[in-house]
């Protein structure tokens, strides 16, 4: 049965999309709550430089070495951003905007000069091609497993363990950094660990969905979940659910209209955000309008 599932191309594509979405939404939830979601944008661009550098040094296009390289590049991005902002001459958002295009452009230039004939190219870097994940497989015992499915499954598991084990610490550090520091929970270190995992997830997701679509998965499902619940644990669950639904719906619609699968998955995350915005039980604009009207009829003018 497992072998049959692994032969099922649509299932493999949807499963990979869902794993990317879940793996991204877990750290994404904390980034969105912290107001740092754009750091995922910066990271997912600047790790192009990391990927190229690791490739030039080791020849590895993917695998654990690339994940570690990505984590290091991601951290370097954030570190440089904080360094620039720390001078007090540049605001934090501008610092992000200064650092990542610089790193990204160096990465793209290196690609142009040294990697013309290699598989990694700008198109893949930005958009990926989830429709072909089933072509690149690795043997795992008796089974041929898509490489992306395997790497995304691993990243998903790592992120899940991190978030479950450190749920209380992440919650406190995100909500009240000062108290977290005063109690000895090292919020700075936790935040860096979170960003290292985000970077590693980004590079693992590259083949499948590329940088831009990865950002959508980091930011949009948590933002939609935020509108639907008042509990952090539920927000994490809903983010994962929305990411999964988006990849299923994205695949179906993309096949129907014969358009980019990854692109349509990202569109679907946006659609779910719109639905949450309109119909959310507490923060949705319809529910709020109804509450206002009810309040108006109860209290006579």
């Amino acid at each position: 049965m497992l072998a049959a599932a692994l032969e099922n191309i649509p299932l493999m594509i949807v499963a990979t999309g869902a794993l990317v979405g879940i793996a991204a939404a877990l750290p994404g939830t904390f980034l969105v709550l912290r107001g740092s979601s754009l750091l995922s944008d910066a990271i997912s661009h600047s790790i192009v430089l990391g990927i190229v550098l690791v490739w030039m040094m080791s020849g590895a296009q993917s695998g654990p070495l690339q994940l570690i390289g990505a984590a290091v590049t991601g951290l370097a991005t954030v570190f440089l951003t904080e360094l620039v902002a720390g001078t007090g001459r540049v605001k934090n958002d501008a610092a992000i905007g200064l650092v990542f295009p610089a790193l990204f452009s160096i990465g793209v230039l290196l690609l142009n000069v040294y990697a013309r004939d290699v598989h990694i190219d700008q198109h893949t870097v930005l958009l990926g091609e989830i429709g072909f994940v089933w072509l690149d497989t690795v043997a795992l015992g008796a089974y041929e497993v898509p490489r992306s499915l395997l790497s995304m499954g691993a990243m998903c598991a790592i992120n899940l363990v991190f978030v479950v084990l450190l749920f209380k610490e992440l919650k406190l550090a995100t909500f009240d950094r000062a108290l977290a520091a005063a109690l000895g929970f090292m919020p700075g270190l936790l935040f860096y660990a979170l960003l290292a995992l985000t970077s590693a997830t980004a590079v693992a997701a590259f083949d499948a969905v590329g940088a831009v679509l990865f950002i959508a998965f980091v930011i949009v499902p948590p933002s939609a979940a935020y509108l639907l619940t008042d509990r952090l644990s539920l927000m994490l669950l809903l983010s994962a659910a929305i990411a999964t639904l988006s990849s299923i719906a994205g695949y179906v619609v993309a096949v129907l209209f014969d358009v980019s699968i990854g692109g349509m998955m990202a569109v679907m995350t946006g659609l779910f955000l719109l639905l949450a915005f309109l119909f959310g039980p507490r923060y949705g604009i319809i529910a709020q309008a109804l509450r206002r009207r009810r309040a108006a009829t109860v209290t006579p003018a």
Partner: protein, 267 residues
């Protein structure tokens, strides 16, 4: 580094193992700079245990920075700080902290009870989850601040005064010996202010030390028995009766006389 290793290092460097154990807070030669500009300069501070102490000074005097330095949240350029004779790391579990209300996101997806439970995270340590025992403690603290009916509420539904009570409850569950509160009376209603003062007074009467960054000169003498007047340097410190003088206030506030007209004592 573990507390004992910390201590061992102190001994190695020839420092005395205990610094002023009789004082709740002891600060020596503390200087803190931000972008090379001193925010606090050469602070020497002694607060005895069992007092309710106001930290008062004009905007930018470094009041919050002083508290953050004592709690290790801000890295000083120089200085030495002890609480009951020990470094902050060693007494972390005996110190309660209420940050400024505006420093957190009140739209965060969490409940009142959950926020209060956060005060117990330090005691729980890494990885351990709060359980029934923690929940009961948090509920008890909510009763003390009169917020027990709000336990299940999402925190964004609270008024400013209610938010401040929740923060106070979160500090109460810490069952600390020394409490630091950053502007707990800022922007709260009169009822809440009275409630906060009453609870803090009870802590003081139980022998705890309560240190409050305060913004309202008019209430200093009614609420507090100890005063630290700050303006980058320490202008005055000691019992309120001795330190709350027009001369000291003028030294701290300089030209901002408008503030003094209402709050200052007669000369």
């Amino acid at each position: 580094m573990s507390p004992s290793a910390d201590r061992a290092l102190d001994l190695q460097n020839g420092a005395e193992p205990l610094h002023e154990p009789g004082l709740a807070v002891h600060v020596e030669d503390l200087t803190v700079s931000y972008h090379e500009k001193p925010v606090l300069f050469d602070i020497d501070l002694n607060v005895p245990p069992g007092v309710m102490c106001a930290v008062v000074g004009p905007n930018g005097a470094g009041k919050s920075t002083l508290i953050k330095s004592i709690l290790g949240l801000v890295k000083p350029t120089s200085g030495h700080i002890t609480l009951h004779g020990l470094s902050y790391r060693e007494v972390r579990s005996r110190v309660g902290y209420v940050p400024q209300r505006s420093t957190v996101d009140w739209d965060f997806p969490t409940t009142v009870l959950d926020v209060v439970t956060m005060g117990l995270y330090g005691r729980l340590g890494w990885f351990k989850r709060p359980g029934r025992h923690e929940r009961r403690k948090a509920e008890e603290a909510l009763r003390l601040v009169g917020m027990e009916d709000f336990a299940r509420r999402q925190i964004s539904q609270l008024s400013g005064g209610q938010q401040q009570r929740v923060f106070l409850a979160r500090a109460l569950v810490q069952e600390a010996d020394v409490y630091f509160l950053d502007e707990p009376m800022a922007g709260v209603d009169a009822t809440t202010e009275r409630a906060i003062v009453k609870i803090l007074g009870r802590l003081r009467d139980a022998g705890k030390t309560v240190i409050v960054v305060h913004h309202d000169l008019q209430t200093v003498t009614t609420y507090f028995d100890w005063l630290v007047l700050l303006n980058v340097r320490v202008i005055a410190q000691g019992p309120v009766q001795e330190t709350y003088t027009a001369e000291n206030l003028r030294a701290a506030y300089g030209g901002q006389i408008a503030l003094l007209d209402r709050g200052a004592p007669a000369e």
